[in-house]
């Protein structure tokens, strides 16, 4: 088996010949095995019916491995979550790797295995893919692109759909992914058990749909964090959103890290945390369902939609003052001192 002969990805692994074949069959097909993929046609043949959601995302993360996940887990959870947030059951995924020459086969295998494990969470399948190997220096280790399609089980969920009086729920404590990446990136010698929230959200969304909860808007708070989602909603639906700081769950580790660097947990990325807007009278019921599921036991109603302050998000502090919660700008950089 030629792939096993090598410890590092060679340019020949992308060359279309023997090496590439063995990488694909021995590693990718094994991990992602399913009949559509293995049929090896030029394109996957799918059976789609009803309203379908389609999404794509490219994953470039530094470092590739972090507490609570790796780029592979992220590449599956990220795309599956984009579908889930439209109440679409994730079905078929594509997956492209761009790998830098010299990348360790062992690491690639770890990434691929974690993709396979994450796929089980939603039952989605990788049905087509592509592999490119680029000369050393032309990429940073590995880039992964995944696209996905899924059947929409509950139409009408939209950023434009927030109604005055809606409750806003956040599914768990915020900012963990951004904080975990930061911890892994820096040679920080901090004691911490902080892990990324990286996770597939479909199982919990499926429960909410099954309970027929009337969801107006739903979004995973990825880059830009909670602030970005709420601001997007306020603008798209032309409403105001008011949230109470004391109800927003934030872990002590994340808060501590924010203190150190001058960040705000509201701005930090999440990879397994979502926000829902829904009628106030079903909020408690939704919360009860969410709390039964792993990761969501700190789910909380953090605020509601108001008719004033259109397009703005207002954060009430625990001591009775308030301010705008703005979107984060540019790169997140630590304060200078």
């Amino acid at each position: 088996m030629p792939a096993k002969r090598y410890q590092q990805v060679q340019l020949s692994h992308g060359g279309g010949g023997k090496e590439m074949n063995s990488l694909i069959t021995d590693m990718f097909f094994k991990a992602f095995s399913n009949p559509i993929l293995e049929s090896q046609e030029d394109a996957a043949q799918l059976n789609l019916y009803g309203q379908t959601a389609f999404t794509t995302d490219s994953f470039t993360v530094e470092p590739l491995f972090f507490a609570g996940g790796d780029i592979g887990k992220l590449a599956i959870a990220g795309t599956v979550n984009d579908l889930a947030m439209m109440a679409a059951q994730p079905e078929y995924l594509s997956c492209s790797f761009i790998i830098e020459e010299g990348f360790a086969i062992k690491d690639l295998n770890t990434i691929v295995q974690s993709m396979a494990t994450e796929l089980h969470q939603s039952g989605a399948r990788i049905v087509c893919g592509d592999t490119k190997v680029v000369p050393k220096g032309c990429a940073d280790g590995i880039f992964i692109n995944t696209s996905g399609v899924g059947r929409i089980l509950k139409p009408g969920i939209s950023v434009k759909n927030l109604q005055v009086g809606d409750a806003i729920i956040v599914s768990r404590d915020i900012g963990r992914h951004g904080a975990a990446i930061l911890m892994a990136r820096d040679s920080l010698s901090l004691e911490s058990e902080l892990t990324s929230d990286c996770a597939t959200l479909w199982p919990i969304v499926e429960q909410l749909i099954a309970a027929n909860i009337d969801i107006h808007a739903m979004r995973d708070a990825t880059r830009g964090g909670l602030s970005a989602v709420l601001n997007e909603w306020a603008t798209a639906s032309n409403v105001g959103i008011q949230v109470d700081e004391k109800h927003i769950p934030i872990s002590q580790e994340v808060q501590g890290l924010c203190e150190l660097y001058g960040f705000e947990a509201f701005d930090l990325a999440n990879e397994g945390t979502f926000i829902i807007a829904l009628p106030q009278d079903v909020a408690e019921q939704a919360l009860a369902i969410m709390k039964q599921y792993c990761h969501c036991d700190s789910a909380s109603i953090i605020g509601h939609v108001i008719k004033d302050n259109k397009g703005k998000v207002i954060l009430n502090t625990p001591w009775g003052s308030s301010r705008y919660l703005d979107v984060p700008q540019g790169e997140l950089l630590p304060r200078i001192c």
Binding site: E191, Q252, G256, Q329, C337
Partner: protein, 374 residues
């Protein structure tokens, strides 16, 4: 270090409300205005971000001082950084927001996008490993900041010397707080009659550096931490001094600051750095003895000397409309600026006060306009 102990008690709503009540009580018995300058942008942000102003009486005003290294960096120094970054085989290192500050021809982030190797550091000590990992390149640390960040630079120089890391050079832009206070007070229009002293700065230098200001201008100086409880308590201490008609140096942030500061750090700084004759502050103009530079015996690490012929010498003033200078001096508020929020916003800043996340205009832009109604 335990991350969890860093902040807890300092945001306790009951304590904050109780402090607000006391401040209101004292200040209701004071007829004049209390114009407090937060020298440091960190405090400006605490006040704005936590909405503290909303809890305070009308006769307490805040004036946002020159205490942010990003705000006070004149354009020509950014142009120096850009010129250095464009030299072949150079890696330019700097801290945080500095890469967003506009020079006369764009900011460092834009130069980075054009292909210059410019890296914002999270930890200045990373400069050592970057220098070791790139033996064929010249690594230039664009060092910025007040007394707070100076020791880090001194440690870096010290390590570079001891470990003979010869490809690590420095472009020093460290500035000092007391001369800036003097520059503010020297203005005949100065309205400031109390100071909140920077916390981080004082950890290193000690509170003693403000004694002269207290004596000379008869203004209270309270060295304060950055948490809402810290700032509220410091304001209360200022108000009490005003009520008693005294002017003293006081350390609220006593969990980290003492009168003398960190003497080991001061010694290390003195070993490598010395006063610069004059430094041109953005908005305040040239102030003598207000900044540091490498001592002559370390000229072999001084990028300003080694690359002298590549560095522009023109002094560049701000956009004509920009009132950063008056804002840094406490004569104007961000909203007084005609282009505030219109021609100038965090996405396309005209002046540094809008760039830095610690700048006054940025803080006003992000956080003002909210009332308690709603």
């Amino acid at each position: 270090m335990k991350l969890t102990d860093l902040y807890q008690q300092f945001r306790n709503p009951d304590i904050i409300k109780a402090l607000a009540a006391q401040i209101n009580q004292y200040s209701s018995q004071i007829t004049s205005n209390i114009n407090i300058m937060e020298v440091c942008g960190g405090h400006t942000h605490t006040i704005m971000k936590y909405g503290l102003k909303q809890l305070l009486p009308a006769n307490i005003n805040f004036i946002h001082g020159p205490g942010c290294p990003v705000c006070i960096m004149p354009k020509e120094r950014i142009d120096h950084a850009a010129a250095l970054a464009q030299l072949p085989d150079v890696i330019l290192l700097t801290l945080g927001d500095m890469i967003r500050v506009p020079g006369s021809n764009g900011n460092l982030a834009q130069y980075r996008a054009k292909g210059c190797d410019i890296r914002p550091l999270y930890d200045p000590m990373d400069a050592l490993s970057i220098a070791k990992d790139n033996p064929n390149k010249t690594i230039i640390f664009f060092a910025i900041g007040f007394e707070t960040s100076t020791p880090m630079t001194a440690v870096l120089i010290d390590q570079a010397e001891k470990q003979q890391i010869n490809n690590l050079l420095f472009h020093i832009n460290h500035v000092l707080v007391p001369p800036a206070i003097d520059a503010v007070m020297a203005d005949p229009q100065a309205r400031v009659n109390a100071f909140i002293g920077p916390a981080h700065v004082s950890v290193i230098s000690g509170a003693k550096i403000y004694q002269a200001a207290v004596d000379q201008y008869q203004t209270p100086v309270v060295v304060s931490g950055f948490e809402p409880v810290d700032v509220m308590e410091s304001i209360l201490r200022i108000v009490k001094q005003k009520y008693n008609d005294t002017a003293q140096l006081d350390i609220q942030y006593s969990r980290a600051v003492n009168y003398d500061g960190n003497q080991a750090a001061q010694a290390l700084i003195n070993q490598y750095l010395t006063l610069r004759d004059s430094f041109r502050w953005r908005g305040l103009g040239p102030i003598p003895d207000s900044a540091l530079t490498l001592k002559p015996e370390f000229a072999h690490r001084d990028a300003e000397i080694i690359f002298k012929q590549h560095l522009p010498t023109v002094e560049i003033d701000d956009h004509k409309a920009c009132q950063c200078g008056d804002i840094l001096r406490g004569i104007a508020n961000p909203q007084d600026c005609k282009v505030f929020g219109k021609g100038c916003s965090p996405e396309s800043p005209l002046g540094s006060c809008m760039v830095s996340s610690e700048g006054a205009c940025n803080a006003y832009y992000r956080y003002t306009g909210v009332t308690n109604a709603g």
